[in-house]
């Protein structure tokens, strides 16, 4: 079975802190994605990556950055967390071209 693992299920951070969210997949997928999920807004794409060291902005990249140094790992970075970044963050991966996204269990971030 495909497994997408997010390092933290729950985090509480203070405004201005730097936050790292880690995601690892074990199926050799080329594509990896970071979404945030908010009530009434569905899933919104923050960043995605087609390959190692490649990244593309999604719909809401402001305030975020990403890193993909290895094929299996995709990190989401909040350089200076703000309260409006309190959300559920979902990582996903897929093979190039097949489309189907496999999701992790999510990381719920609260910024105080």
């Amino acid at each position: 079975d495909v497994k997408v693992t997010q390092s933290s299920r729950y985090l509480v951070k203070r405004t201005g802190e730097k936050v790292f969210l880690e995601c690892v997949q074990d199926m050799d997928h080329e594509n990896m994605f970071w979404y945030r999920q908010d009530p009434g807004l569905g899933l919104r794409l923050i960043y995605f990556s087609y390959d190692v060291k490649m990244k593309e902005k999604g719909d809401i990249p402001e305030g975020y950055s990403v890193s993909r140094e290895k094929k299996e790992r995709f990190s989401l970075i909040l350089e200076s967390a703000s309260t409006n970044q309190t959300s559920m963050y979902l990582c996903a991966s897929s093979f190039q071209g097949t489309g189907e996204l496999f999701f992790g269990e999510g990381s719920r971030l609260t910024v105080l």
Binding site: L43, F48, G97, G104
Partner: protein, 111 residues
């Protein structure tokens, strides 16, 4: 921008009845669609997909219908069970690797 919306944010059905969850999309160039199920505290899970060259696809107890004329997608769940209670999302794909998700419909199954 893309718009993938759902007609109803919540749906309640009696156990054993059939459920129909609807989704409208705005981009006629979208060529691949997926329905996801998200249970409480979990990430979304793939249910069924359909490509734009089809108008119907069946899985186990689930059927997806695609009407490209009116840009409408529906998910039908036969003999709904308590384990089907979840939030259901439709997602559209128009450029290979990016998906746009709807806001979700919360399905509650009444025993």
């Amino acid at each position: 921008g893309e718009s993938v919306g759902l007609h109803l944010p919540t749906l309640s059905v009696q156990e054993g009845d059939n459920s129909i969850i609807n989704c409208a999309y705005s981009n006629s160039a979208s060529d691949y669609f997926i329905w996801y199920k998200q249970e409480s505290g979990k990430g979304p899970q793939f249910i069924i997909d359909i490509r734009s060259n089809m108008d119907k696809r069946q899985g186990q107890r689930v059927t997806v219908l695609l009407n490209k004329t009116v840009k409408h997608l529906s998910l039908q769940i036969a003999a709904t069970q308590p384990g089907d209670s979840a939030v259901y999302f439709c997602a559209e794909n128009k450029n290979g690797n990016q998906f746009y998700f709807g806001t979700g419909t919360s399905l509650t199954v009444i025993p």
